[in-house]
């Protein structure tokens, strides 16, 4: 069981000295942050905050590469294997660094040197069964509340695979835990009994709390109108047996729709025994004529009782989602100080660029919200929701009423192509429905805040988050025309079939044939908010765009994936940008204090830990084709000189 006290007991004395300052939480209802990094998001509250304070604004410029490790699990897609997309945040726990790889291996490393302690190979099939690339976002750690001396598997590491297997191995040796499932492996696909078209891909590591694992999964986006319903499974962490399951598609609608799955990470309120699930949109993603009945749990943040699986509350963030605005990151749990009262809150970041600040006991908005009328659909068969919820406080990272104007320079350089690409297309604000003539989508599925989410400093309740400002265009294509024009479709061409409904679609970024973005920058920024007041404190361009090796000006920023981490030393660490740089940022103003190049864009969350009294900052540089084709297999770990 991952509980803060257990973690503190594991810390070496020198690390305890590092973390001896006052606990960081303001209300004491959230487990204390430590100098370990025990989950994808640092801790179960998904705060991405570390008590480590050795690296400060004053000395961060001295940061140097302490060690690096190359997994060898890499493919650019040019050979027999699909390309790799490696977004695994490393864990530091049990005095070991644990990594998952896109070849579905677990690697245990010495935290001070990067020396291999053991590796485990799941021997999973290396085929892109659901997603277009081999993906992995890390591993899960669990340990028994009362470990039995001499018994194996009292501490475990779990790894999911593309083909729906969940492997459990001993955290000290890497040997399979025989008492888990079938010889250490649970085939999650055994519960994929409705509309099975593909395996439930376990790309995001499960969330461990108590003696349970909460398992979400990824599917094959944009392919079918009727996909598997997005069930989340709670497994016994020791045996792999199914304790309970919860799903979000009404049973009577299952013949017509599916997904609303949880493919991103989750957070847990340990005191209240609630797991918060970021629930995605129903299938198909860009046409809802087959599912006009209400699906209130889809595209939501949903609070579930960890013991029973019963839904405590749910808040839908997009009604009748026809924009693929999946809720795509773990909500960050934080106790706010509002009008002298401590309010248990969560912050849900979103693709639609709004920050949903909710009371995490009730799901009620803390700063208010408004249901506003939004445009109607003109597509035969579609019935867009008449209103959508708007959360204006804290301010969204994007203007929701308009999209960035066209770059004159880009339009001239493209000989007018930029203007032609959007000629006659619809845009009446963010919730303009998909259309046959084409709809400008801003923020789009590639834009806004992605699966990393944000980071909060619980000593100040300041929240830091990165966002992408990418304009896309979406066109629904009648089936007959689609079959004629799209061919095989797929990621490269921008065509996707949505089989089973009258329309396929084409979704592309608004860029010229030469790859020039057609809108004015910035293309990505970083923002800081005061969560106690809902005020935006600052917003600065983040990173540099890059094409053919040439870097754009700093003021342009970069599209980004991956999240920041914040430390008690007063430094934000983030990779995320397409320039392949990792950065340290001043939380007071967004200024870059330090940077270095890594092998590929570091699209995983940064991890911070203290081992033997020395603070380390770890970045996985794995790349993601959404940003650029570069792939990597590097774990780069930085520290101050000894």
């Amino acid at each position: 069981m991952i509980r803060s006290l257990a973690l503190v007991a594991l810390l070496p004395a020198s690390a305890l000295a590092q973390s001896s300052e006052d606990p960081a939480t303001s209300a004491g209802t959230i487990a204390l942050p430590t100098t370990e990094w025990t989950t994808y998001n640092g801790d179960l509250a998904a705060q991405k905050y570390s008590q480590a304070d050795q690296i400060t604004r004053e000395n961060v410029a001295d940061l140097e590469l302490a060690w690096q490790y190359k997994t060898g699990d890499i493919s650019d897609g040019s050979g027999d294997l699909p390309a790799t997309v490696w977004s695994a945040t490393p864990l530091y726990v049990n005095e070991t660094v644990y990594l998952g790889t896109p070849f579905y291996r677990i690697i245990a490393l010495d935290p001070a040197t990067g020396e291999e302690r053991w590796t485990y190979d799941s021997e999973s099939t290396l085929e892109a069964l659901t997603q277009p690339a081999l993906k992995n976002r890390g591993v899960t750690y669990w340990e028994a509340d009362a470990p039995v001396a001499g018994e194996p598997c009292q501490k475990r590491v779990y790894l999911g695979t593309m083909d729906a297997e969940l492997h459990a191995v001993d955290a000290d040796t890497g040997a399979l835990c025989a008492d888990f499932g079938d010889g250490g492996i649970v085939n999650v696909n055994q519960w994929n009994t409705v509309n099975e078209k593909w395996p439930l891909s376990l790309l995001q590591p499960p969330t461990a709390f108590g003696d349970q694992l909460f398992v979400g999964w990824a599917g094959m986006d944009w392919e079918y109108s009727v996909a598997s319903p997005g069930t989340v499974f709670a497994l016994d962490a020791r045996t792999g047996e199914l304790n309970w399951e919860v799903d979000f598609i009404p049973r009577e609608l299952r013949p017509r729709t599916g997904t609303a799955n949880v493919w991103a990470s989750m957070s847990v309120d340990e005191e209240r025994g609630i797991v918060y699930l970021p629930v995605s949109s129903p299938s198909p993603n860009y046409y809802g004529g087959n599912r006009t009945d209400p699906i209130p749990l889809a595209t939501s943040v949903t609070a579930v009782d960890v013991e029973t699986g019963e839904i405590v509350w749910s808040r839908q963030l997009v009604h009748h989602d026809i924009w693929d605005y999946d809720t795509g990151s773990a909500a960050t749990l934080v106790d706010l100080e509002i009008d002298g009262e401590t309010v248990p809150a969560l912050v849900q970041t979103s693709k639609q660029s709004m920050l949903y600040v909710l009371n995490r006991e009730t799901g009620e908005p803390i700063f208010g919200m408004e249901e506003r009328a939004v445009p109607a659909s003109d597509v035969p068969g579609e019935v867009a929701a008449p209103t959508q919820p708007y959360f204006d406080v804290p301010p969204p990272s994007h203007d929701l009423d308009t999209y960035p104007r066209m770059s004159r320079l880009a339009n001239i350089a493209s000989l007018g192509e930029c203007a032609r690409l959007v000629e006659g297309m619809r845009y009446e604000g963010m919730y303009t429905p998909p259309s046959l003539e084409g709809t400008i989508v801003y923020p789009g599925t590639a834009g806004g805040m992605q699966w990393g989410g944000g980071a909060v400093d619980p000593t100040t309740n300041r929240f830091y988050v990165n966002t992408s400002k990418v304009v896309q265009t979406l066109r629904l294509i009648p089936r007959e025309e689609y079959e004629e024009t799209a061919g095989e479709g797929g990621n490269e061409s921008g065509f996707y079939p949505q089989r089973g409904v009258p329309y396929g679609f084409e979704l592309v970024n608004w860029v010229s044939s030469a790859g020039l973005p057609c809108w004015v920058p910035p293309f990505g920024t970083m923002l800081a908010y005061d969560l106690n007041t809902g005020d935006l404190l600052w917003e600065v361009p983040l990173g540099r765009s890059q094409k053919w090796g040439f870097f754009g000006p700093e003021s342009w920023g970069s599209p980004n994936l991956g999240a920041p981490a914040i430390t008690a030393g007063g430094v934000i660490f983030i990779g995320a940008t397409m320039d392949g740089m990792v950065r340290a940022i001043d939380p007071d103003n967004g200024n870059v204090l330090w940077s270095d190049f890594v092998e590929a864009p570091a699209v995983a969350n940064a991890a911070v830990y203290v081992h033997d009294g020395r603070q380390y900052v770890a970045f996985v540089a794995g790349g993601n084709s959404i940003l650029k084709p570069a792939v990597g297999d590097q774990l780069a770990v930085y520290a101050l000189p000894e």
Partner: protein, 117 residues
């Protein structure tokens, strides 16, 4: 003779740009590893070396004016490449080339003035 020195410096500038472009292309984690950008910068550097060599060989003519223009374009292009590749060494190469080209132009211009006065 001074014009030859200027062209030699111009060529040196080109070589410096080529070296830093090659380093950027080949060095892992340079930020521009195996991207087309440093190859374009290297082509600019090659242009400077070739320009210097040809200028040293040909007699004054209309072709020389055209070559001057091409060398200026190569200098600007190389410098811009270095700037946007975040590789100061390439920019330094271009600056060395500019110095050499000015020395060359000054020498050629001085000789031309002596002939016409």
């Amino acid at each position: 003779m001074t014009d030859r020195i200027g062209l030699f410096i111009l060529a040196i500038g080109g070589v410096v740009a080529i070296i830093f472009a090659a380093l950027g292309y080949l060095t892992p984690m340079s930020g521009i590893t195996e991207t087309p950008g440093p190859l374009i910068a290297a082509a600019g550097g090659v242009g400077l070396v070739l320009g210097a060599g040809v200028l040293a060989m040909i007699a004054p003519s209309g072709w020389r004016s055209l070559l001057h223009l091409l060398v200026i374009l190569a200098l600007i292009g190389t410098a811009l490449c270095g700037w946007f590749l975040l590789t100061p060494g390439i920019v330094v190469g271009a600056i060395i080339g500019v110095v050499g080209f000015f020395v060359y132009l000054a020498a050629v211009g001085g000789r031309h003035r002596r002939k016409t006065t």
